[in-house]
């Protein structure tokens, strides 16, 4: 029944002809191009401004590319820029942020992962009530809890120290991270957990030997989420630390928005870019995992 394929076909055949420059494509790619440029522009502005000298900035506008590239603003932003009376640049803030971020991330992920594991696999009576409160806590405006935490930190002697801020970040990272881990552990096949129990493994045995090795992607997601979140925090930094212990975002704001002296826009932009560098690096390197992290916030329990 198969016609010999030499039978020449007449009329339309093969793929429907499409113009590369159809109106739809021009509209689609044109819109996307404009939007992409719009979103990319501020990053471009930051970079070009930070590479210009002040005289050049005064002559041109924010978008003009640098004629003479100078790294002086970066050096100044890092080590000399002034906030009020002290002129140590952003370096102090950077190291403070490092000292805050690393222990906070480790501590919060440790606590939240064990918590999520307990909620997913070892449910006890009342566990869900605490979990619900915890999730609601994520929606309470931080402002409501600011002062009570000041009192708590003062009582345990951590107010104004890096340690205090680490504790605060651990507390406020708990709802979203616990949710993240609980959902992930729940999604693992229950048979795995049951098999391990039949084999005689206990709470910690299963956690360390089965759950953790199987969950490296979610640990990475949690890490990305926490590093960017904690690095970018401003409110807790400004409330719970002092001038010596300010994280980078607070130092940055103080440098740029300090009223003394002449505004050095190039130094300001270099400082801004420096502060944004850590999360940007994480973002560009991690790609899809970053998206998964923020989408995790939207996944309902």
């Amino acid at each position: 029944m198969a016609d010999a394929s030499t039978n020449a076909l007449s009329g339309p055949q093969g793929p429907k002809p499409r113009k590369m420059l159809s109106r739809r494509n021009i509209f689609l790619y044109g819109t996307l191009f404009v939007i992409t440029v719009y979103y990319a522009l501020p990053l471009y502005v930051m970079i070009v401004t930070s590479l210009k000298g002040m005289p050049e900035i005064r002559l041109g506008n924010v978008f003009s590319p640098p004629v003479e590239v100078t790294f002086q603003p970066w050096v100044k932003a890092w080590s000399e820029a002034c906030t009020g009376l002290t002129c140590n640049g952003l370096s102090t803030g950077f190291w403070n942020s490092v000292q805050i971020t690393i222990p906070s991330v480790i501590l919060s992920i440790m606590i939240a992962s064990v918590n999520g594991y307990a909620l997913a696999n070892w449910k006890f009576k009342g566990a869900d009530i605490f979990f619900t409160i915890l999730i609601f806590g994520a929606f309470i405006p931080y402002q409501v809890m600011l002062y009570p935490i000041v009192i708590i930190l003062r009582e345990i002697g951590l107010y104004g120290s890096l340690g205090g801020l680490v504790l605060v970040h651990t507390i406020f990272g708990m709802p979203i991270l616990t949710l993240l881990f609980r959902n992930y552990f729940t999604s693992l096949p229950e048979e795995l957990f049951k098999a391990a129990r039949v084999d005689g493994a206990g709470f910690w045995g299963i956690y360390f030997r089965i759950m953790v090795p199987m969950s490296l992607p979610i640990f990475t997601v949690a890490m990305i989420l926490q590093v960017t979140g904690i690095w970018n925090d401003f409110l807790f930094g400004v409330v719970y630390t002092g001038p010596e212990t300010y994280p980078m975002t607070v130092s940055l704001n103080n440098i740029v928005n300090s009223t003394q002296g002449v505004k050095e826009y190039n130094v300001n932009m270099a400082a801004t870019l420096l502060t944004g560098l850590v999360p940007l690096l994480i973002y560009f390197v991690s790609g899809r995992l970053f998206v998964r992290g923020i989408a995790a916030g939207a996944v309902k329990g």
């Binding site: 029944m1 198969a2 016609d3 394929s5 039978n7 076909l9 009329g11 339309p12 055949q13 093969g14 793929p15 429907k16 002809p17």
Partner: protein, 362 residues
């Protein structure tokens, strides 16, 4: 050519995704009012072909004609087709009535006409009491009925079904299968039906097209495909439990495998006569006889029962013939026990012979 009697014609169809050839030089004519089933395992291109016919996929080369019109470049909605999907694909936020009428409203049909068609379709499918409900409040079977209704109201000549029953449980599947067959008898329009379930294919089809690797292996009536499979793949694919195969050779009008020699008198060779050479013999488990019937069978073998699988209506017996694993279907009431000696027989006239190298029917 008999173009006037064909509802759907597919000519030299190719489809490629990048470097992957999904459909290759495919030709298929489907008659008016015919029920054609595209059958094959997953990845054989059957759903892809259906999507091409619907216009949901752009073809790489070739043509598609529906009702004597070249529709290769035509939008799906203007091809004169209705389609039913595996996941039902109902619009979840609309009532059943909304689902049935949305396309018609969009085509700016007069209200009275829409109402008439919705009423007609819901009568045929017996979904009138459900018209005000939303899909979420329906059972799987009801949802699929609504999905069929959505194709029905379009008042078209060709219906396309893409594995419509695969999401249903076994009992519902059997019920809806019968309903679809009734629907076809009543409406008498062309239906193209994709499935991987051979029972569905055998029970519904006027003709079955067995597909593999983007090509049609065999196109024929269910009897044809069951009785005279064109190659070893089709023979093994159709029939459950599947065919018993013996590797051996034809020599002087008989087939020899191990210590067993089977005379081929009565076998209808596709190519005229027996040619000596290596071959494969296939015997369906249900074509093996036991008890008194063995006396009349041209071939008789003594076997030992190794395993029994009762299914209620039948008993499947596992044994060894000529050193090969062999299955026999017996009556459900048959009195057999493991270890027992059993005499079985079969008629080579009902067997299938394939060339060992090409696997084509001899």
């Amino acid at each position: 050519m008999n173009t006037m009697n064909n509802s759907v014609e597919i000519k030299n169809l190719d489809l490629q995704f990048g470097a992957v050839k999904v459909l290759q030089d495919l030709n298929l004519d489907i008659g008016k009012g015919e029920f054609l089933v595209l059958l094959g395992s997953s990845g054989c291109g059957k759903s892809t072909l259906l999507n091409c016919i619907a216009g949901l996929l752009d073809v790489t080369a070739g043509q598609i004609h529906i009702n004597d019109t070249n529709v290769t470049w035509t939008e799906p909605s203007e091809r004169g087709i209705g389609m039913v999907f595996q996941s039902y694909a109902l619009y979840p936020q609309m009532t059943v009535e909304g689902n049935l009428s949305f396309g018609l409203k969009n085509a700016k049909l007069p209200k009275a006409e829409i109402a008439k068609r919705v009423k007609h379709a819901s009568e045929i499918l017996q979904i009138e009491p459900l018209l005000k409900r939303k899909p979420a409040a329906l059972s799987g079977g009801q949802r699929q009925r609504v999905a069929i209704g959505r194709a029905l109201v379009r008042d078209v000549d060709v219906f396309l079904f893409d594995e419509p029953l695969s999401n249903l449980d076994a009992k519902l599947r059997a019920d809806l299968r019968v309903e679809i067959k009734r629907l076809h008898q009543r409406l008498e329009n062309t239906m193209i039906y994709v499935t991987h379930d051979q029972i569905e294919a055998m029970t519904l089809a006027d003709r079955i097209a067995i597909m593999r690797g983007g090509q049609i292996m065999q196109l024929g009536s269910p009897d044809d495909i069951y009785g005279r499979p064109v190659n070893k793949y089709v023979a093994g694919f159709i029939g459950s439990p599947s065919m018993n195969f013996f590797d051996g050779a034809i020599k002087g009008g008989a087939f020899t495998t191990g210590d067993l020699t089977i005379p081929l008198t009565g076998y209808d060779f596709a190519s005229g006569g027996a040619v000596d050479g290596p071959a494969t013999l296939g015997i369906r488990p249900e074509h093996v006889v036991t008890g008194e019937l063995v006396d009349n069978a041209p071939v008789k073998v003594d076997v030992g029962v190794e395993l029994i699988e009762p299914t209620g209506s039948d008993k499947l017996i596992d044994c060894q013939v000529a050193g090969r694993h062999f299955r026999v279907r017996m009556d459900g009431q048959a009195d057999v026990a493991v270890g027992q000696k059993l005499r079985i027989g079969f008629d080579p006239g009902r067997a299938s012979l394939f060339d060992a190298a090409t696997e084509e029917r001899l």
